[in-house]
Symmetry: C2
Subunit: 249 residues, 2 copies
């Protein structure tokens, strides 16, 4: 029987600007092997990279003030969202669905106050989550000799389904998509549409090992050695559907 396993790394604690995540993972005893996948909640990366804003440093524009009119939301928080947004895909009933500068379509451009480092701060997505993944991978290889794959994740809602699933917003060391198109099914018939979002499924699996208040930003997934590559690969950017193919905008 094929086996998959995932373990949350305990004891990493609060991450601060300038921290070396690879060092924190190793210090917490989460030493990953070469064929394993290190799945990191983006907030840990964002905090280490200083991608945090204090609300009192933000001046809300008229657009932000208009968007919060009649709601409890803080216009400065919405301004932080707009500052990360390339396109406001939907704005309705206080819900903002944004295309980020990276191209991800998600609520609030990934800007979030939960588990932020201070009462009046918000955490942004990393500037380049694929670069962040590559950096952690390179650093783990430097420190241990083994270069596991690294994913950076966030929790995204979905268009027609309730609830959020973790997805990959950064990746290094595995191809985020597994393409079965053109390959045969069990009966030898050609699979025409099968294209698996491998990295997103790994992100979702990893999230099952922790809770939203457990302070465990890092999960190590094993049993998927067959997907881990020497090359860093195309990154999670490959998961973004180009606007030209988008039927839901």
């Amino acid at each position: 029987m094929a086996q998959l396993a995932a373990r949350a790394v305990d004891g990493i604690g609060e991450v601060n600007a300038g921290d070396d995540l690879a060092e924190l993972i190793l210090a917490a005893g989460g030493r990953p092997a070469a064929g394993e996948i290190v799945v990191i909640a983006h907030k840990a990366i964002s905090k280490a990279e200083g991608r945090v804003r204090r609300l009192d440093s933000i001046q809300a524009t008229p657009l932000a003030r208009g968007l919060v009119a009649g709601s409890q939301r803080d216009a400065r928080h919405v301004q932080a969202i707009l500052d990360e947004t390339a396109e406001l895909v939907r704005a309705k009933n206080g819900v903002l669905i944004c295309r980020t500068k990276h191209g991800f379509v998600c609520a609030n451009a990934g800007v979030d106050a939960s588990n932020a480092p201070g009462e009046d701060t918000v955490v942004l997505l990393p500037v380049d989550p694929d670069a962040s993944a590559r950096l952690v991978r390179a650093r783990l290889r430097e420190l241990t000799g083994a270069g596991p794959a690294v994913l950076v994740t966030d929790s995204f809602g979905r268009a027609w389904r309730h609830g959020q699933c973790d997805v990959a917003i950064g990746a290094a060391g595995l191809d985020p998509l597994t393409d079965w198109r053109g390959l045969p099914d069990r009966a030898g018939r050609e699979l025409t549409a099968t294209w698996i979002a491998l990295a997103d499924q790994i992100a979702a699996a990893a999230d099952l090992t922790r809770s939203k208040d457990s302070g465990q930003p890092v999960v190590v997934v094993s049993g998927l050695d067959r997907y881990v590559t020497e090359a860093d690969g195309p990154g999670a950017a490959a998961l973004i559907r180009p606007e030209a193919e988008d039927m839901f905008r």
Copy 2:
């Protein structure tokens, strides 16, 4: 460290109309414990329930013939899709995004020729996947004394991301959503939007243990005992976002 594990059950073989899936799982040595989750690819359920159509029994309507005009698609296959569709959400470049009679929004209303039982057949979604999940659960309890949770899954594409992820279309024995809204984060701040699609994340994790030609429709997931309930619960129907809340139609 919290642990999650998943194992694909080998040796179930081809499933035929009238087969008892619980018996097949046990015969293959996949005996699940009470706190485990049995994740079943819907095709195995659909075949056992006879939800298979022969193309030569289908008469294509003018709408089906119009939709395939200029493409390689078989109008009878498209007719089978339309017969399962409550609403055609998008039809563009040969891609059909449908709301099924259950309320799921997905490509081709879940109708698929891959891994179908014959050259000229298509497999439909189960009529009531939550009922299917409850039935397998009850039967496992009858045969073993243990009532694990049961999920029925399919692979769905996503609006703004490439690739497919497995999601739950049927569930019994766990609440498919974990609601953190109103609960505190690690710093004691209220989480306002956190609502985890638990069942979808489990479906995605399970899919990682197999491949599209491995003939392993059943995966047993362990380490999530805390989510398994005595009651069957609301089923995967709870994951469907009501049309009134839908911003992308």
